[in-house]
Amino acid sequence: MSISKSGAKSLDLLKKLPRISLVNLGPNPGAKKNEKRRGRGQHGGNRSGRGHKGERQRGNRPRLGFEGGQTPFYLVIPKYGYNEGHSRRPQYQPLTLNKLQYLIDLGRVDPSQPIDLTQLVNSRGVTIQPLKRDYGVHLVAEGAENFSAKVNIEVQMASELAIAAIEKNGGVITTSFYDPRSLCILCKPVPFFTRGQPIPKRMLPGEDLLPYYTDAKNRGYMAELAKIQEARMELARTYGYILPDITKEELFEMLSMRKGPRQIFFGLSPGWVVNMAEKKILKPTDERLISYYNSS
């Protein structure tokens, strides 16, 4: 049997049959069934499938949900605001450690550079919809046993076990807040740069999320560095692993890279305009603009 790329047997058969035309084409037996036609013949006629007298035959049945006068189910159950304010609740797309390890193994995410939400979106590891109340990505600890990558990762929320898994492998994790406009820009930087607007300042979290991002246990970007060090050691004690010393690593500089609280991109300050066509960056020189963009 010769090895051909596709449809060996069926193509051989086709070569021997007569030419295909409308005359010899037809559906498979049993593929097409005739529709039921009411009011025709012995079985379709007489009452035409409507039953005997009453509201049923005359087409006058009451509305859906009516229970003959008894208070219907949909009115007996009291209202409760389960979905009230659903469009004002922040949502976070989950990212498992399994998926992160898979992305690093297949070379879609580069662990020798700080991993940002932009890097995750560019590698198609997560899909963020800032316009659907997504506020970022949530690192989840599924696959923590097999995770073994040393990364500097910045997410919006992280579970305790995920933080422990990353720090155990000698990595650094930070949680930081992006307001919806900054998140749009972070997820899709190229369409933003083509607009020609200056990079805006990142807004600070509201009062609901401020306690989360000022807590060292969540590795919040607004927490004090000393407290974060203590929290790292405490987490190592809780989960029973030895905390590796990052200061003695080659990639220490990369691991200690952190964004400023008002910065959206690494290496680019707010207020700058990026010209992608000519590969230039335009920076303002006016003192008022500089003081506005550099203020916190």
């Binding site: 690093i104 193994d105 097999n146 995770f147 991109f265 290496g267 992608m276 590969k279 960056i281 920076k283």
Partner: protein
Amino acid sequence: MMSLHFQANYCVSASSSQTYPGITESTEEYKYVERLIPPSSVPTPPKHDQYPTPSGWRPPAAVPPALPYMVRRSRMHNVPVYSDITHGNRKMTIVRKIEGDIWALEKDLKDFLTHTSGTTPLMQVNEVNMSIRIKGSFDKDLKSWLLEKGF
């Protein structure tokens, strides 16, 4: 006369006046912008010391196995075995991207699945798409079987 007056109003000098603040240009920090541009094609996976990698991925064998058929990797370098579900409860497994003698692969799959599950599952060979659809969910078993073969 009118046109000269029209042009004079729109003649703005490059140096700063009170309405247009000045700018400086630089190309040093443009490397940070280049990092943000998404790649235009799927990157080839880097070489690892040990396989399987921590996430369980293995590359295809360097020499394709000496079989009458070939199962190529997908665009994202994974084994092309997928699970399908219809009507909420009808589970099927699909093997795609087959090349060569598809009936030999169908025979090998039948033998393997009869050996593992006891009963012979129903299989549909699609010669035009070069794919095989199997009744039942065997995606993990088939993926490991194909990896062992070296596809």
